[in-house]
């Protein structure tokens, strides 16, 4: 039974070897003439200023959380819309109401976040 997985193992081995050998070859054979422009972080980009470890306000966190909640709401609407036709003849109204309840609860959450000042920046 385990022998069935042999092709996968071979594929994995081949991938590792292929990538590894190519990397090693370019490392050994390639000519190296470094200069400052080549060694910069983005060769043709903006010159880097400082490092990435900057502090930024915690409020982004709240915005990000609210975004995810409503983003997922929309994502959830897609599969619902896809299966809606299948159910529409027998219980279309029911699952329509179900979705309205779902959106209603999220709307309530939105109002809650709004009222509690989750959407104001200062």
């Amino acid at each position: 039974m385990l022998i069935d997985y042999l092709p996968i193992l071979l594929l994995g081995l081949f991938a590792v070897l292929f990538a590894g050998i190519n990397l090693a070859l370019t490392h050994i054979l390639g000519p190296k003439r470094p200069n400052r422009v080549k060694l910069s972080v983005y060769e043709s980009g903006v010159r880097p200023v400082g490092d990435a470890r900057q502090r930024f306000t915690i409020r982004f966190d709240l915005v990000a959380m609210l975004f995810i909640i409503f983003d997922i709401e929309v994502v959830f609407l897609y599969p619902w819309a896809v299966v809606f036709k299948k159910f529409s003849e027998t219980s279309g109204l029911f699952i329509l109401i179900e979705m309205l309840v779902f959106i209603g609860i999220l709307l309530l959450g939105y109002i809650y976040a709004w009222k509690k000042g989750g959407l104001t920046w200062d």
Partner: protein
């Protein structure tokens, strides 16, 4: 394809959801006194409790949502445990929070959300649903543990709980993934059918051990208990009571259901692990509790030890074992919330009395408080005629019947050890003089009501064990 939903089966969960939404809406209006939110929580949980009891007596059984959600006496009995805990915690929270009006709304919301998560865990007939409930419960508890943001200890508790809890959830999820790999399904009864074959795949065994680790974290079993004392000490005292009661029962609910119903054919493997864990948990919890000077840490280690006693029921792995573990969890929730409630009651004008030495001389100065504390501690220690004795008695009895004599001997020795540190508090209260005169705040009436209910519960179950034992015996799946 028509969809059929049996709303009656979902009644307790729907009532809690509705209560949650009502509390949310009322929290939006600033003109309303926030104290009403606590009462709404209690009324909502009370109705759900009443419905659960009715359904339990009627013996309602059924599954919903493509066999993902199973209502039976087992889940209903656990619903009763969760809702009783929620009501008691809401009662002891009201005076504790009243200082800050702004904090009340989210507090009760999160408590209700956690309760809903626990109910999902107990009724989960699918590992995914159990995980969903576990996360719903845990996420609410992380926030609650760090609820007093201005207090560094509370923030630390929330952070520690979040990091370790998320880690444990990952273990749990990995266990689910491996079991799915081994059995080809995540449905609890279907897993049991899939693994009746004599060859036990290593995937299943690895998944099972990861599940034990995940549950071990959530219910604070040694050696996965490290978070418990820090979290209990730092979290608001009401939340420490809540975390130690309902979520632990919920963890055991899913633990019992998954291991007894989905993995019975691996019983040889898991029961030996559970026996070792039970012995370790009881011994480590009780021995370390002796060394504690803070009452909240002492109660934290004691709650770890109590998880060990419940594990004895699981190790027995027979019907008596399950029913006695369930009875024990009910009793434990009531007495532990009562003990934490007594700690809140012992508040002086300087703040909470958190050291055991602060309790010196309370026996004469605060007789009511000392009485509550004594009842709860005696029950935790397992003295008759309290509920703690009944709980321990049936757990030990089931293990003897299953032939685990050594486990019971270790349990009995541990009970003796635990009596030392529980009674030390009682001795401090009645036989020591206080070092300085303390000025106490007045007793808040809701807190006293909560403690009276807990004390009545503890004594009633202690005197009439069949009151709760018979329902528990009827609840084995």
């Amino acid at each position: 394809m028509p969809i059929e939903i049996n709303w009656q089966l979902l009644m307790p969960e729907l009532i809690i959801t509705l209560t949650l939404l009502i509390v949310l809406v009322f929290d939006l209006f600033d003109s309303i006194s926030k104290a009403i939110l606590g009462w709404m929580t209690i009324v909502g949980a009370g109705i759900a409790l009443w419905v659960s009891i009715q359904m339990h007596q009627a013996g309602t059984v059924g599954t919903q949502f493509n066999d993902m959600f199973k209502v039976d006496n087992f889940s209903l009995f656990f619903n009763i445990i969760f809702l009783v805990s929620t009501i008691l915690v809401a009662l002891i929270s009201m005076s504790y929070l009243s200082r800050d009006d702004r904090k009340q709304g989210p507090y009760y919301l999160l408590i209700l959300l956690a309760t809903l998560g626990m109910m999902l865990m107990a009724a989960g007939n699918e590992l995914i649903i159990v995980f969903l409930g576990l996360e719903l419960m845990s996420l609410s508890l992380y926030v609650l543990a760090g609820y007093f943001r201005d207090n560094p200890a509370s923030s630390e508790a929330g952070m520690k709980y979040l990091l370790l809890g998320a880690f444990a959830s990952a273990f749990f999820l990995y266990g689910i993934a491996l079991i799915y790999g081994g059995a080809g399904t995540t449905n609890v009864p279907a897993i049991a059918e899939a693994i009746t074959a004599p060859n036990k795949s290593p995937l299943l065994l690895a998944g099972m051990f990861l599940l034990i680790v995940g549950f071990g974290f959530k219910v604070a079993i040694v050696p996965f208990h490290q978070w418990a004392p820090d979290v209990y000490e730092g979290a608001p005292t009401t939340i420490a009571a809540f975390i130690s009661a309902g979520p632990k029962a919920a963890g055991f609910a899913a633990f019992l259901r998954i291991f007894m119903e989905a993995l019975p054919s691996l019983q040889v493997e898991w029961s030996s692990v559970v026996i070792v864990l039970a012995m370790l948990t009881m011994t480590v919890g009780n021995v370390i509790a002796i060394a504690q000077t803070s009452i909240k840490r002492m109660l934290a280690y004691s709650s770890i030890a109590h998880a060990g006693y419940v594990l004895i029921g699981l190790a027995a792995a027979n019907n008596d074992g399950i029913s006695s573990a369930m009875l024990y969890l009910l009793v434990y929730c009531v007495m532990n919330i009562g003990a934490f409630g007594a700690v809140i009651l012992a508040k002086t004008e300087d703040g909470e009395s958190l050291m055991i030495s602060d309790y010196a001389g309370l026996g004469l100065r605060k007789p009511l408080l000392a009485m509550f504390m004594t009842i709860m501690l005696l029950s935790l220690a397992g003295f008759p005629p309290t509920a703690g004795f009944v709980g321990k008695f049936y757990v030990f009895k089931s293990a003897v019947q299953a032939g685990h004599i050594w486990l019971v001997i270790v349990g009995a020795i541990n009970t003796a050890i635990s009596a030392f540190y529980y009674l030390r508090v009682v001795v401090t209260m009645y036989m020591r003089e206080p070092e300085e005169e303390l000025s106490f705040t007045a007793y808040p009436s809701t807190l006293v009501v909560g403690l009276v209910l807990a004390a009545i519960g503890v004594l009633l179950i202690g005197i009439l064990p069949s009151l709760m034992l018979t329902p528990a015996q009827n609840s084995v799946f």
